[in-house]
Symmetry: C3
Subunit: 367 residues, 3 copies
């Protein structure tokens, strides 16, 4: 099963997202792990990041995209039992890493994200253990909401959002969708749509500036939420795609409003209807991204700027964001509501669901 | 009489639009033919399209810009009588073509456009027989409205709009304006402004995605309506100009709203006030156009993508468009109403009309 | 004291703005002169304009950036007394110039701007005598408002705004802010915020097209007002920066609304929060600027186009602007009101003021 690759030339292609069949078929209500056991199925990226260690490659101490070692590490769990065990123990351990995970209060509360309290700002990293390619499930989205809630209340002046690994975020996990919707269409379509709505609302309502650092591909909802963030810095390695129509989905994350506003209706629709993929440079020249940096110095450039920004007056930052955002706040709330209603309807209707299933099934059997 | 050429360097220039004086002076209410009889007066294009046959050049079988032979052909009628005759017979024939026009139901209902029902989509081609350079008259605009109405009701998933010839659309026909407004200013200014309003409304209200393929220059109203379409693909050969102020016209087609939204107020106003011409690449980098293709493969690229888009789920396409458009629908309706009111006032006022006439007269005598 | 230089590479840097300490400390209510007496302190520009005479360099007849001799010349007054004297005499004189200033009615009414009535348009030039780098004080802003009021009432079809010197406008004068706010925080914060509000409103409400020619750096409020103008032409030498957060200020000039609209929220916020500097080319490709011209022919290019635009019909120009602007008029009024309320609060609060002072003090002591 892959995201639909558009018919454009280019070195990039959309990563294949594997279905973890146990999750799909047993209809378990417990959080499922969508990460495939065999690592040879991992996302093949056209350019492999040399300097950022991937624990799968060498088993050495693993570092996040943004430079310092991850407190909770990156886990490879082959069953929900193992996961459960790890959680109960209050720490995670992967033998292949030979790496003792330091655990602190903020990290132990989250499984699929890492939260770091830095001087003047909070750093949230997507680091999904239950899905591949930082794909989103309702559970992961709830963790992000909780992290945003915490950062709103503490003394952070701003929030930095980034990702561990080579993919920023691949959007909603299709295998999760299929698994749940085939179990209880009516109930699950509501539950998932509500989770998307709350996730997007958390971004809309967050009052401090959100800086987002895009290290790699941002797909679907992972791309849609970028205009809800305030400053968007991207690595040359990043690219952007929202292949809604091809995936039998309607736009989400307020992209039906923000994309036309930012990119112009012609390009926005090409992205939403035709799955047009934008390179980092294109996204920057069209306004989705503030600035593009070389992959090798991306982390330093981002950290330098975030620290400088965090030295500004907190009131000035928050009030400036308020001035910029307050005028579109209610529009975004409405758009988000409508988009999620539409997704719910689509998932709830036999026809819409069939279309989604047949699309995903075709993709799977194509491989 | 020419559109005003702006003072910018560049290989392109705006095509001279000839007045067919019989149409201007006799005030006939029957549809007039503005195409000049002598073909030597045709629009001189800087790059002549080699592979797309123009029947005037060689009399061979003529093909449309988008590849397959046109069912209704391209006619050269030297009087409204001949036209009338052809219409009554239910088919058209041009001796120079040695080409028997195949006639089918949908084609015979239109004179200045061609409508093709393809698999999954409707293809509307501007192919004006009564004006040069696909200029618009109320009659032609009504044909487009009817075609859009039909496509809205049938099983098409989307609409493809393109043009026959080397010019996409040169906007309102100035000689028509002069001819009619000098006959009965009050009545005709209302009638023409209403036709513009309904034409623009037809685009605003069309619920399925509209893909537009711009093979050559798009001027005035022909450029203004592009932001009302959903995906805009252009050939390298296309360029865009809305020289409203220079033509003593105010903006139309909602461009007073959509152009600033898409291009930024600085460039939008330079286009509206100073007649700034945009190349295809400029229009693309500023958001008016989704993507630019090489002229030689333009048709294939467009068809490939349209067919792919037409394979998407119809509900998803329509609902996605609804999400993108519903939020600006009422704004666009208001803007269109105001713009057309302003045009009516301008055409109706002695002063406004004199300004338009003297401008067009000066242009004619300059030649 | 300097504007904060952002951490980006590039040949440009923000000009040092000197505090004239007499103005700061005595709290005089009379207009103060912030221009430093010694010319060696002048803004060092990376590229000195060779062909545009600076009277300080050679004492020859001085010409404005836009080509013709300035009627009121450029004054170098070393005390407010000398200034006062000059004003009472009704003319200005600078011995070093050996230049008798021709005085006409419109010029003698302004001190920090020059107003020229040209055929079909009014030309307003920022030429501040009381501040360096065309920085703005409430008094200068009031002069601009008066000039706009006059141009609205006379037979000009449009207004051309440009600057004398190498800097277009460096925004609010920080030394003025410090001087006044440290004298009477409550009263002065209201007075200055009201002056900003009225200045911005004058642009919002001006009904004829405003063309602005940016010969050099445009900073803070000097950059913020550009989207309120209609056509923006810039010299290659121009650059744009609104380092609000770094200066402990919130956005002004409606930039909290117009910048995200034009540049996209990602770049707009990078400018407002991180002080991102835009080159002329960047500003053009992102929509803030209509077109960029070479510095050597900038004046001619602008004048050519302005004259062409001034040959258009006045009603068409005004009604076109009305169509483009009326839809956002009330939004802009609201945004301006909110922005100025926020500035007032910030200046009025002990904390906000301390932050501004400490920032400016640090900058001064860094030198």
């Amino acid at each position: 099963m892959t995201y639909k690759a558009p018919s454009q030339a280019g070195p990039h292609y959309v990563p294949p997202l594997r279905v973890s069949h146990n999750g799909l078929q047993n209809g378990q209500m417990e959080p499922l792990i969508y990460r495939p056991a065999a690592r040879s199925h991992r996302l093949p990226m056209d350019r492999v990041d040399g300097e950022l260690g991937d624990m799968d490659k060498n088993g050495q101490q693993f570092t996040t995209e943004l430079g310092s070692p991850l407190a909770n590490g990156k886990m490879h769990l082959h069953s929900s039992v193992k996961r459960k065990l790890a959680e109960e123990k209050g720490y995670v351990f992967d033998k292949r890493l030979r790496y003792n995970v330091r655990q602190n209060e903020s990290n132990c509360r989250f499984r699929d994200i890492v939260v770091r309290k830095e001087e003047g700002f909070t750093h949230v990293l997507l680091s999904s253990q239950t899905t591949d390619n930082n794909a989103l499930t309702p559970e992961i989205m709830k963790e992000v909401c909780r992290a945003l809630g915490n950062a709103a209340a503490d003394d952070s002046k701003l929030l930095l959002l980034s990702s561990v690994g080579t993919v920023f975020c691949s959007g909603l996990e299709p295998s999760y969708l299929i698994g749940r919707l085939s179990t209880d269409r009516r109930k699950e379509s509501s539950r998932i749509a509500d989770a998307v709505r709350d996730f997007v609302l958390a971004f809309i309502h967050f009052k401090k500036p959100i800086v987002v650092a895009i290290n790699g591909p941002a797909l679907g909802l992972g791309a849609s939420i970028l205009p809800l963030c305030d400053v968007v810095w991207a690595s040359e390695r990043a690219w952007f795609q929202t292949p809604c129509a091809a995936l039998h989905l309607t736009p989400s994350g307020c992209s039906s409003y923000t994309f036309p506003q930012i990119l112009g209706v012609a390009l926005a629709n090409e992205m939403l209807f035709c799955g047009r993929k934008l390179t980092a440079q294109e996204a920057c020249s069209r306004g989705l991204v503030s600035q593009v940096f070389w992959p090798t110095t991306f982390n330093q450039e981002v950290m330098l700027r975030v620290k400088e920004m965090a030295s500004c007056n907190a009131v000035v930052l928050e009030e400036s964001k308020c001035l910029v955002r307050s005028i579109v706040m209610s529009v975004l709330e409405d758009v988000n509501e409508k988009e999620c209603q539409m997704l719910k309807q689509l998932w709830c209707s036999t026809k819409g669901l069939e279309a989604l299933f047949s699309y995903l099934h075709n993709k799977t059997s194509e491989k």
